[in-house]
Amino acid sequence: MTEIFGVPTQALFGQLLLGLINGSFYALLSLGLAVIFGMLNIINFTHGAQYMMGAFGAYLVGQYFGIGYWPSLIVAPLLVGLTGVIIERTMLKRLYHLDHLYGLLFTFGVALIIQGYFRYYYGSSGLPYPIPPSLAGGTRLTLFDQPIMFLPWYRAWVIFFSLAICITTWYLIERTSLGAKLRAATENPTIVRTFGVNVPLLITLTYGAGVGLAGLAGVLAAPIYQVSPLMGADLINVVFAVVVIGGMGSILGSVVTGFVLGLIEGLTKVFYPEASTTVVFVIMAIVLLVRPAGLFGKAATTTTGVESTSVGSGLDGGRVLNVVMAAMAVVLMAAPFVVYPQFLMKALCIAMFALSVNLLLGYAGLLSFGHAMFLGSAGYVSAHAAKVWGLTPELAILAGTATAAAMGVVVGAIAIRRQGIYFAMTTLAFAQMVYFLALQVPFTHGEDGIQAVPRGKMFGFIDLNNQLSMYYVVLAIFMFALLMVHRIIHSPFGEVLKSIRENEARAISLGYKTDRYKLMAFVLSTTICGLGGATKAIVFQLASLTDVTSGTSGEAVLMTLVGGLGTLLGPIVGAFVITGMETYLAEWGQWVTVIQGVVFVVCVMAFRRGLVGEIAYRTGKPL
């Protein structure tokens, strides 16, 4: 009788309860995201970090000021909300006149800073936070004298309180005069201002409130999960999928979807535990196929228009670019005698990755926030082919590249049906699905990855175990990828892509089937990305989980941004800068993440042309 998970019905209800708890957090977090998205049109990538800050806030005020759980429930969200207000007023506000993708990138950078900082100070192990004494213990629920399950008071409180917060927020927005102001300001801020309403202040407070909700969820979570710097990063990926399923910006949609998906996850744990971490993503894929706008979303389209540096053109400019490319090839040929070949090869593989992201973002205006799925999958397949199937390296690389291309067809076909932020979120969610699959399917070997991949002999006679031979093969592959991108962007096809980026409606009216062009660009991009990932696995004799994480996807975007969006050479420079930072600052540990975050923020705020873009702009030559 004391056994809780022994009896099937008890197991069922136990898992349902767990599902409801998870659902409560999904709902609270996606609610905050929806509130922010509705008003600012920004997907707040800092949300997970702010949830974590809420938990830490409760922990820290307890440690230093002896403030208990109940006051923390108010104090910590207020503090987190206040940091949100400061971030909005000092920085985010300056990005509203730009494409919304910059807001996304900015919040992503801030998340890196916060998470890196907390990991530096608190490591990645969890800190315990006690359940408040008034909610200790629980009750045994029975039905017809049959025990159903044991219900801990604290868990009951979490479910009840989350639900109450969700309903209150919904009421506030849909039924009050303040809510009417918010909704009106979403539709037409200019006119609302002429009524004497301080809309900029309203936006600041909305961001503060949305962030405060994340903090509140963090405090609620502290006694259930341990307080740790990574608690938000793990959770938020699922929440983004919830947001995509529910329909971005829908208050009701996020709450209902959050709770329902929590329950479905719980049920899956009972009946088919292996699928419990991926079920949300499977549902997401189905929903996207049937209703691209999400279950509760309105089919809205946003225009894209990232600032990419396209200056000068014509023969003269093209000649400069050719000279620079030739010079670069010469330098790279000599480089292994000066710099570690291992580092160079890494940077070149990563540069192909960045080139592929830029092909989409810089030339077609499509921000893929999940490109790591192609990099990592290609790596896995190429490693598996070389190690288990015993294929020669060239065939292994080909297999990996083909995998990425095939995945590109599937993901691309679904993702290009949405634009702007919606496109980014869709790719991100797919990448999460791939990440969880990679964690679970046997052939990828989970956390260990595929190790000791043989390099073998290329075409049967080039022994890749010789470091220099390996290097020149990588360089050849890289130059091939670079010339391919060069050809693509300077072809008529590339011109059409650019006109789609600038004004898709116009391109459509000119008779272009823009979806076909976008899909083609997407597949070309994933192919190049796969080439980089497959080569990397052979070079490092390793295919690992790191290569499929969302952090890796973010890094590629960062490299593109640092080097210069929409420049041919920018991503390469960016790849060398960022890879160099990671390699040579490795002993700084978590500070590297913080620095990356700072670079992200600085680039978005003040240096949107990037290094190469700036040079191209000053000299008037396309680079």
């Binding site: 102001k181 909704r183 006119i191 002429t194 009524f195 309403v197």
Partner: protein, 254 residues
């Protein structure tokens, strides 16, 4: 008992009394830009307390831009705009609204995610004289019947126009900027709107009206300005309308 007038009470007297002739709005050498394009090239006009002044001009002359510049919706502007003596160039719209100016935009801007009631109640009361819902209903009886409508944009064009004018009366503004309130409406509705404008004038409100339809405008206006290519090119009293007809036809190209 005799109350010695204080300086404050005298000033209040001067402000509130409808002294015809005191300029409520004064625009001097107003220049405005949309991004890089220079639209207004030195607009000069004055609206005195209690007047209804109509701004005429052909399509693209810059009438809407003038109203938007006064309201602060167009931010990039130079010159001088004073309301009751206070300079408003450089102020954001929400501050200008608090000085007692309200704009009813050409596109009406009824919110589709708000009910009719929410649309009506949206503008807050900013100053004394802000009308209650009942007062607004007495001016626009149709609105009262349609107040339960679930979505603002489900109203007819005429009803939306009345809602758009009605709701700005809540702020207590004493200077209304109305941008083509009769555009695309049936003659009966136009008459109704003319009737409302005269009632608002009787209540002491000052109105700057943009119109293409000068037949309609002549039924409500005290004075006219004519605008072309971003400047005021002419002005005359309502009484002189007939005498100015030939010129007007030329300006408006009708």
């Amino acid at each position: 008992m005799y109350n010695k007038p204080t300086w404050v009470s005298v000033m209040a007297e001067i402000r509130t009394s409808a002294t015809p002739g005191a300029p409520l709005l004064s625009v001097k050498n107003l220049q405005s830009w949309y991004g890089e394009s220079h639209i207004l090239h030195g607009v000069n006009l004055e609206v005195r307390q209690g007047e209804v002044v109509t701004l005429l001009g052909r399509n693209g002359a810059g009438k809407t831009t003038t109203l938007k510049s006064i309201m602060g919706v167009v931010r990039k502007r130079q010159g001088s705009i004073t309301k009751g003596g206070t300079e408003t160039i450089g102020l954001p719209s929400e501050r200008i609204a608090k000085l007692g100016i309200a704009l009813c935009p050409e596109e009406r801007a009824i919110f589709s995610s708000l009910t009719v009631r929410e649309n009506l109640m949206l503008p807050p009361k900013l100053r004394d004289g802000g009308m209650s819902v009942d007062e607004i209903f007495s001016l626009f009886p149709n609105l009262k019947e349609r107040i339960g409508t679930s979505q603002g944009t489900k109203l007819s064009g005429g009803e939306q126009q009345m809602l758009a004018i009605g709701r700005i009366l809540r702020t207590g503004a004493d200077l209304l900027l109305l941008d083509e309130p009769t555009e695309g409406l049936a003659p009966v509705i136009i008459q109704q709107i003319g009737h409302t404008i005269r009632k608002l004038k009787e209540r002491g409100l000052t109105i700057l009206l943009v119109e293409q339809n000068f037949r309609f405008a002549s039924t409500v206006a005290d004075r006219f300005y004519v605008m072309d290519h971003g400047v005021i090119v002419d002005g005359f009293k309502a009484a002189d309308l007939e005498a100015n007809m030939p010129k007007l036809h030329e300006y408006l190209g009708v």
